[in-house]
Subunit: 306 residues, 2 copies
Amino acid sequence: MSEHYGKVALIGLGLIASSMAWAMKRAGMATEIRGYARSAETRETARRLGFCDVICDSAEDAVADADLVVLATPVGVMGRVAETIAPHLKPGATVTDVGSVKRTVIEEVSPYLPETVHFVPAHPMAGTEHSGPDAGFASLFDNRWCLIVPVENAPEDAVARLERYWQALGANTERMDPEHHDLVCAVVSHIPHLIAYTMVGVADDLSRVSDQEVIKFSAAGFRDFTRIAASDPTMWRDVFLTNKGATLEILGRFTEELFALQRAIRTGDGEQLHAYFTRTRAIRRGILQAGQDTDKPDFGRIEVKR
Amino acid sequence: MSEHYGKVALIGLGLIASSMAWAMKRAGMATEIRGYARSAETRETARRLGFCDVICDSAEDAVADADLVVLATPVGVMGRVAETIAPHLKPGATVTDVGSVKRTVIEEVSPYLPETVHFVPAHPMAGTEHSGPDAGFASLFDNRWCLIVPVENAPEDAVARLERYWQALGANTERMDPEHHDLVCAVVSHIPHLIAYTMVGVADDLSRVSDQEVIKFSAAGFRDFTRIAASDPTMWRDVFLTNKGATLEILGRFTEELFALQRAIRTGDGEQLHAYFTRTRAIRRGILQAGQDTDKPDFGRIEVKR
């Protein structure tokens, strides 16, 4: 089966869906792209931007006749969306999602889907701190990873087809089981986001350090946290509510380590601090070698001229 | 008095000192720059790069006859450096430093300095994740802040002169008292770094999530932490040991907030999470408006093309 699905329906029209539409156009990957968003304002913006061929006023309309249906809403409402669209799905269609959490999504979506469709959950690990239909662009997934998380007994050809689809959109793909996916994402994404939100909240709260000072002097490290903490609040609320187990586990590990460092500061144990700070450098080198970041100082925000 | 000091001595030749040398050359700000570093290898690299006019084999040699002496070592050794150079300082010279912590540095350096010199502590809030003499470049301080932290009874003209010096190197300046400086820096820099180090350490530790996965999927948020956590371990060890009070205070606030969010996750309090994640967006907007970061998605690491 070709990675070209023909008619594609996007449910939810935020950063990820609009980027998928632009990337499909770039790759000539769809005969027709239909889109739906709950908010009339989002639909209007999407119509104006033109990344879909048709913007529908109901999810049912969007999915009727679609060969690929993409759930691109916050993960907390995917179950309800599945319930709504289920009776209207075309037999033989593939249903996928782009949620950052997989076990809960599978539990909540699967029961509604008829046996005549294939459900292949996926998670493109790409994004920016911007959200909404006007934030999307074609190259968002280039050289990023899309994790494919097949449900039990999923037909191999349906899974492989979605992999090729994501590769055509620019991504690398890898298969993972739902539990492992949710743990990996808690480590590399969910807890870093929670920590960034917390740090920004602490700074916001401190009355002795004015907002203006926090903003003026942000380049000293804090700035990167504020970018992460500027992401979509609804999406992130849903991530933590639906990936509770893994996030609480990693959070426990995190505070355990943090308390060890706090104790080293309190007792003046410079050796422990130095050893810890040295060890973490190696991971950074790995990321640069893997091409997942640039080695330019400060991400090239400053120009190096001597 | 002109912001041009004439002869400048740099003690310590890492990222900050080498950038100061390049920036002084760019601005025509010194008649002669003399440099000293404890490590022979660093001195050799500095000689090769040529950002100083003379590289001396002792700190005493470097400071003799200097009009401005810059302590640019890790803060933990500044007291010892001050003790070593004190007998060799030229009467009327200004001694400054570039340490990230001010109260402890003032306490440790001041007692050694003769009354014939002016001590004007400063803290250029600029840097990258790279360290060493080959990491420096002339524009590092452009549009960044340099905090000037005068000691008690410091003569106004000596303080104002150092301000003009830093402005000539490209920085904006602001005066602050030592306690407030150390608190502000704990919030915008020290604790963000500690948290980033901790998160990277947690990821490194987790045996179920392999290093390879952490590296492959780092773009999902974790990557920014690894950049911060790639900074110089000696410098950061000294920061935490010498800014113990403020870092422990902010750390306490941080864990208090983190536990509140952890509880919201555990109890499924979506409203609290959403409210928290919404509030932190405002700070990001302030940083962009203040010109302290770029609004390009992902810091311009990805090119937006539709």
